[in-house]
Symmetry: C2
Subunit: 196 residues, 2 copies
Amino acid sequence: MARRNSNIADDSVARTALLDAAERLLVEEGYAAVTSRRVSAEAGVNNGLVYYYFGTMDELFIQLFRRRSEGSLERLRQVLDDPQPLWALWEFTHEATNNAITMEFIALANHRKAIKDEIATYSRAHRSLQLERLTATLRTYGVDSERWPATAILVLMAGTARFLLMEEGFDVQTGHAEAVAVIEREISALEGNRRR
Amino acid sequence: MARRNSNIADDSVARTALLDAAERLLVEEGYAAVTSRRVSAEAGVNNGLVYYYFGTMDELFIQLFRRRSEGSLERLRQVLDDPQPLWALWEFTHEATNNAITMEFIALANHRKAIKDEIATYSRAHRSLQLERLTATLRTYGVDSERWPATAILVLMAGTARFLLMEEGFDVQTGHAEAVAVIEREISALEGNRRR
DNA sequence: GTCTATAGCTGGATAGAC
DNA sequence: GTCTATCCAGCTATAGAC
């Protein structure tokens, strides 16, 4: 019987099935539903394998988060390569799929310290990457970086997008159309209407 | 032995102690820590009383949320009476205290349908009250309501404030100072510097 | 209204056979 | 690597004495 921290291939079938199942449960029923028994049942895999592959449920959550955040940073890179990067970033951030699971992780973080650290690291990397790529772009658009620093613009966009998604989760939409219109108008003023 | 839904005074000592204890646990350890056993222990009250007063844990959460939201709407009313209502609203929304518990309730809502409905109702009431009071104010400030509808401004402010608080919870602060500076500059342009 | 006791369930984690 | 069995903890909720 092998134990955690031994050399377990990251691409084993059972391991992947477990992570996939955990992700599904997390999105559909919230993190409270992500128990070792339910994850293994959902994955069609024996319950003992959860502990064989991850050791603890905490570790499973962490590895799930890492798998997602690597994918997500990779997608962000592609998004920022768009000829209209502000538009692309806005669409990306405003995308519902990412958000449900992100909110679950944030909630999880409130009582799982290890997850908290993972999220912090990821958030900083995410913001850095955006800054790195967009600071120069905004300058070429002629944005006054004193009045409108790139970081401020990014925070306003990200905050608004996430807030809209959060409220939509509760079927609260008051003022959303108007807020979206304002933001998209400002983006258009810099990058023109969205092409493609 | 009385049962739930009988006539139980809302101001009984034990009931209040239980709600207070639940609130404390919710803020400090997250909703997973809010179990009937821990709440009663924290309140210094017998465990059976949780069920005597609330019937189920779901009901306890709901009544806690209601107690808070009534208080919160009342405070919002006062805030909007400030001679500089935009400033006051910004400060209110940007206040850390409210936020920790709000995030917990949002997380809770993901797997407690009844809580979800409570939050939706409250959010709509909150937004309506803001709109009702601020639409006219913004007009007197000379804000062009075509370009900058009151609802859009409220959503942008609320979204940004909550996002900043959320990230601060993870010790992520990149760009926060810049975003705050931009928002406060815009508020100042309408209402002047913050007095008081 | 308050208390004790307990039924009944679900969960994390481990041991050890195969 | 996979599987079964199992220990132990913690939870909701109820029954019923006081």
